[in-house]
Symmetry: C2
């Protein structure tokens, strides 16, 4: 199994390929993809070999074939439904994030504990939290986003687990651990900014 960094690179290759496809490119070399993704050509070929993806010696890779293989690895060969819990600033923004539908990801519904946030007619609909288990079970949703305050995040994760969610993106400012049978990735705005601050200071002082 590949690691997180490797899969992020695959996403980048895939995005670069889509751009090349739009430009009617037929073939691409590991060198080209390396430039596009900001890595070395050896890295590109190594990543591909990990997934048994092969090209032609001397002829590089066929853009369409390669795109198809990467799409399959990244689950883009089938519709992926995602739910969002917490319809505050972040949750609402994610529910209306543009461009996801074009890439095979559908935001199925938002959920909130506040009845005032419910709106069954919006697209995607905003539903009461009590309906989460039912919707997730019925539509076999595998992915969820947590966008609630920190004190509610753990509870929401447990609700998602009981409903059958298998992968979670957590935007709440608390580090949730991946429980058995589920993968949780944490995205913390404050940590990201602190990271940036550290490196800005570090490079400044290095000069």
């Amino acid at each position: 199994m590949a690691n997180r960094s490797c899969v992020i690179r695959l996403s980048r290759y895939k995005n670069a390929l889509n751009r090349l496809k739009a430009l009617n490119f037929v073939r691409v070399f590991s060198d080209n993809l390396a430039d596009a993704a900001g890595v070395t050509a050896a890295q590109v070929r190594k990543d591909f070999s990990l997934f048994g993806i092969t090209g032609n010696r001397r002829g590089g890779y066929r853009v369409d074939e390669l795109a198809e293989q990467l799409n399959k690895i990244l689950g883009k060969d089938q519709l992926q439904e995602v739910i969002v819990v917490g319809i505050g600033n972040i949750g609402r923004a994610l529910l209306h994030y543009p461009g996801l539908d074009k890439s095979g990801i559908r935001l199925a519904a938002g959920f909130d504990i506040d009845p005032g946030k419910v709106n069954r007619d919006s697209q995607p609909p905003a539903l009461p939290l009590e309906e989460l288990v039912d919707v997730v079970g019925r539509r076999e949703v595998k992915l969820g986003v947590i966008a609630v305050p920190d004190y509610a995040a753990q509870q929401v994760l447990e609700l998602m687990l009981s409903a059958g969610i298998r992968g979670v993106l957590n935007f709440a400012p608390i580090c949730l651990k991946s429980p058995e049978g589920c993968i949780v990735h944490n995205i913390n705005l404050e940590s990201e900014l602190e990271n940036l601050i550290y490196f800005v200071n570090a490079t400044e002082n290095a000069q």
Copy 2:
């Protein structure tokens, strides 16, 4: 200089320490912090030694001293101002992200190219893009967030650079490279979901 993973761990230690402080803890062991951050105790001590942070053999670390040292490394000993460019769904959500002010980060202003988005009375104010260079220069802002559509991201980055921004968080769905003298971190919702999808499928098939 530490790497990104290490600095993310420092943020986690810092957050755990703040919680311990609120509970009036005076001392903490590497074991405790390891549990809180989901790493090994050896990792914690190794991270600290990289920054010359020392505790007491047998006595662990003083919570207040340790918190202060980590805060300094992460720039939390001084106010950090941040600007946001692009007042769409994501930009607006980030501008009103709660809790940042409590942690020494101030969202100074939002900027948008659309005059209809301008609102000088909102908190933080929403200003026309033309005023970015002036505001950033006058207040010596070092950090910026990009929340514009993909086709505008590179231009916005260049504007930020010319204004003197040194660290950028890019939420636009295109991978921006760090130019000379500036650090860019990309956060791409689609890639994050693709990542999750890959690992969900990979663990499912492994069973």
